[in-house]
Amino acid sequence: MTDKMVKKADLNELLNRLLEDYRVFAPVRRGDITTFQQISAADEPDFSCTNTILSPKSLMLPQSECLFDFTLEKGSDMAGIMREIDKDYSPRVIFGIRPCDAQSFQLLDLNFDTSPYRDPWWVRRRHHTTLVGLGCNVPCSTCFCTSVGGSPFAEDGLDLLLTDVGDEFALQAITEKGEQLLTKTGIDTEPSAATAKAVLACKESALGLMRSSVPTNNLEKHDATALFNADFWDKVQFACINCGICTYVCPTCWCFDIQDEVRKNNGVRLRNWDSCMSPLFTLHGSGHNPRNEKLQRVRQRFMHKLKYFVDKYERGVACVGCGRCVEQCPVNIDIREVVRLMNQFKV
């Protein structure tokens, strides 16, 4: 695959060329917060932020999305019948996504792109999106990607990888999609020997800067019901206030709700992010609730990511080690500590 380089001063020109062929999404700073936004030629992306507060999951699974629309107009042939909605599936690029977030999309493919059912919106968005990753020279103190199968410069799940080597970005195409994008940028400068060396140095130094590591080696060996009944859940859940911020910021929390909304005679069927932290998430019509207690909900979130997912797909944990939940939790529940407890569990 091809390697190129671009001077930082020429990056805007590169983005402008991409804007001719793609809708471009990149981290943009608004006020104190950097989030992934669709950019225009006037926007200046912010590549200094290692982890955006929100993961870019909303670009694949919008926080709220119309699935169908319908009319309730009496006498209409279509009254009460769901209709598919046309959406923009033109090519787009997520520019500057971190390797962990790109990896989260691959994990979510296991849930949304299945046999026999394929989630049509997820699958189409994945198909028409090119992921240009930005390696993490300085991982955050809460990052632990190397413990969960990733790394600050992991290529898996990316189409193209950028490395910030000071005055320039090195570009490394990883997939055919990445090659195509690279061609469209028109960049023709091969990386110099010094740049190539700097890229290697960045990768090596980033690994050295990783401050947390947690063992996950025993998770798949444990008996799920024994782990489910472990005593430590009571301690883990004690401080939790069920606010749900962990599920909100998590790139691998995909649970959703489906609701209808009506205004006058027209309505839509919506899909909204949902959270296992809410008791309503599992409340039966009868009033029975299998996860009525906070402990049950907290346990479900960790067991799902760190045990059920591991057992169901045999592709490791459903966590990419981005550390967002660690940073955002108002009562300092730390998933790394929970992994440790689960991993070292003895019956």
Binding site: L67, F68, F70, L72, A79, G80, I81, M82, E84, N111, F112, T114, Y117, R118, D119, P120, V123, R124, A224, T225, F228, N229, W254, C255, F256, D257, I258, Q259, D260, V262, G267, R269, D274, C276, F281, T282, L283, H284, G285, S286, H288, P290, R291, Q296, Q300, M303, H304, Y308, D311, K312
Partner: protein
């Protein structure tokens, strides 16, 4: 790409009020498009999402047998937003059906075996589908003895009363209909809770499968009796309920451990459930 969230449009063909409290109605639904009807091929034990535009969707067991062609039956208890709206709907109105969803009773395994069906209250819907399926002339010879134990609180709370009476007249199915209590002097069937009647009638476990559907309290007291009668856990079959949205294993709420009740279930053997966390 097929959109698994898009319901098939159907028309309400008839509505039958099943119970004396008028809280349970059976809806007969007919597909608006014949090609949808051809695509909807189900097995007894599966469910579907009923969709009412503007209200939402609910997962409901399919009460009609695959052998009953051209329509679907759903018996719905009035509980929440969608079921209440459905109970208000009239013949001729259009709604949606999405499915069939989930797995089914283990018909392949049960081939050539005796089948004991134990049901309580309004959880008799997919059991009705199963009975109609087994009694169909093409299928009856594939099964040994068919025994049914079905109970409700009162005679007026039994579902499918005409069919129960008709099955009771047949000699190729053993019916044990029961009620918790009755002040009807003409009541000619059993009086007693389902577990008690199960113990009394003691269906043989030899070469037999038991399919059990009912309220949690009935299941709790029936399972030990089935064990006493010699039914091993892998031949006690149950169908679970959960709050669901997508019905296709994606929205994440109906799991018991690794298993999504919508997609990996709703049918599980007691043996399978014994290996999962006790959270349902």
């Amino acid at each position: 790409m097929e959109n698994p969230y898009l319901p098939y449009p159907v028309r309400i063909d008839s509505v039958i009020t099943e119970t004396e409290d008028r809280n349970l109605k059976t809806f007969k639904l007919v597909f608006l498009n014949s090609e949808d009807s051809e695509k909807f091929v189900h097995r007894a034990g599966q469910f579907a999402e009923l969709s009412i535009a503007g209200k939402g969707e609910i997962p409901i067991g399919i009460a009609s047998s695959p052998t009953e062609q051209g329509h679907l039956l759903f018996t719905v208890n009035k509980v929440g937003l969608v079921t209440s709206a459905l109970h208000q709907m009239a013949v001729g109105e259009v709604m949606g059906v999405r499915g069939p969803l989930g797995n089914w009773y283990p018909w392949e395994e049960m081939d050539g075996k005796n089948v004991v069906i134990i049901g309580g209250g309004f959880a008799f819907t997919t059991l009705r589908a199963s009975i109609v399926y087994m009694l169909h002339p093409e299928n009856r010879s594939r099964f040994g003895d068919v025994t049914v134990i079905y109970g409700a609180r009162t005679p007026g709370m039994l579902l499918y009363k005409d069919e129960l009476a008709a099955w009771d007249e047949r000699d190729d199915i053993r019916m044990h209909i029961t009620v918790d209590a009755s002040d009807d002097p003409d009541w000619k069937y059993n009086v007693g809770f389902v577990p008690t009647i199960t113990q009394e009638k003691a269906p043989s476990a030899e070469d037999a499968y038991a399919i059990v559907c009912g309220p949690p309290i009935m299941i709790k007291f029936t399972l030990p009796i089935l064990s006493e009668l010699g039914f091993p856990p892998e031949r006690i079959i149950m169908s679970l309920e959960m709050r669901m949205k997508c019905g296709i294993g994606m929205c994440g709420r109906c799991n018991i451990g690794t298993e999504y009740v919508c997609n990996d279930g709703p049918v599980f053997s007691l043996d399978q459930l014994g290996q999962l966390p006790n959270e349902y």
